[in-house]
Amino acid sequence: MTEMIHEKKLVNYKLYWLIWLVLLVLTVIMLFVGQGLFSRMAVVSLLLVAMCAKAGLIGGYFMHLRFEKLVLILIVALAIVLTALALFVLIAPDGARILRLSQ
């Protein structure tokens, strides 16, 4: 069993703190984006992209998912992303419809 588990990859400490810096910069950008300088659609799009980038960095580097086998990455990522998409895509239109009906 032991030989089937792949060797741990030791990540350089500097990489963790570089990721930390990138996460902070993304957070500042996200705060700046919501200040009213862009259209609502642009704000939503930029925030979603930044949010996914932060999630990817934390999951990939802090949680070491990037260094795991592809099947584990797919199980984790697809389970969460597909469920979230399914829930939102199935539920959100009803919310908007209810608002239209009430107005």
Partner: protein, 204 residues
């Protein structure tokens, strides 16, 4: 026993007798737990998204929250994630003292975050927010806010306890690097959830 297991395998990862995920069982179980816990928050946030889209008067975040304070909370949690990653790296290198030091720093970050959350909650409750009412908009705002941040805060609190236990066990030589790594996976998950709550609740 290992010989018998080897004879049964067909040579492929799915031949039996070995993990097809190339991780040992406790790390795999932690990942499965993280997936199920993430789905809990996915459900909460999807429900919040629905309520917000269906609401004619969802409170303007600028009127409710002090975004600089929330940004500071985010900074604290991200920094605690970085110290946790450093602790895991130190444990994997066999550097026990450094691992314990960074586990304790991570704990401090968690406690700071919780204190800030308590401060935020206190201010909102004093302003009139509750589970069934608030002075800024639709009634559901309060219940979604307190439930989502409350569940997240509970996860942070339990994470602080786990960090304390892991730090003590590492200090006394009873925890392996793997134990620190599993604790790290949980803590990073807690940070990951905050990334989504911060964006979808405070910034949208």
């Amino acid at each position: 026993m290992d010989e018998a297991v080897k004879l049964e395998t067909t040579g492929s990862a799915w031949g039996g007798g070995a993990s097809p995920f190339a991780v040992n069982w406790n790390k795999l179980m932690m990942w499965l737990f993280i997936v199920t816990d993430a789905l809990l928050f996915v459900g909460f946030l999807a429900s919040y998204g629905f309520a917000r889209l269906a609401s004619p008067s969802w409170p303007d975040r600028a009127h409710v929250f002090h975004l600089e304070f929330i940004a500071a909370m985010t900074f604290v949690l991200i920094s605690s994630s970085a110290t946790m990653a450093t602790a895991v790296g130190a444990a994997q290198r066999g550097n026990r003292k450094t691992a314990v030091r960074f586990l304790l720093l991570t704990m401090l970050g968690g406690l700071a975050f919780l204190s800030m959350q308590v401060y935020e909650w206190t201010n909102l409750i004093r302003a009139g927010a509750s589970l069934h009412a608030n002075p800024w908009g639709v009634a559901q705002f309060g219940s979604y806010f307190f439930m989502i941040t409350g569940f997240h805060g509970t996860h942070v609190f339990l994470g602080v306890l786990i960090l304390l236990i892991t730090a003590i066990r590492t200090m006394t030589g009873r925890s392996t690097a793997e134990g620190v790594e599993l604790t790290g996976l949980y803590w990073h998950f807690v940070d990951l959830v905050w990334v989504f709550i911060f964006t979808l609740f405070y910034l949208f």
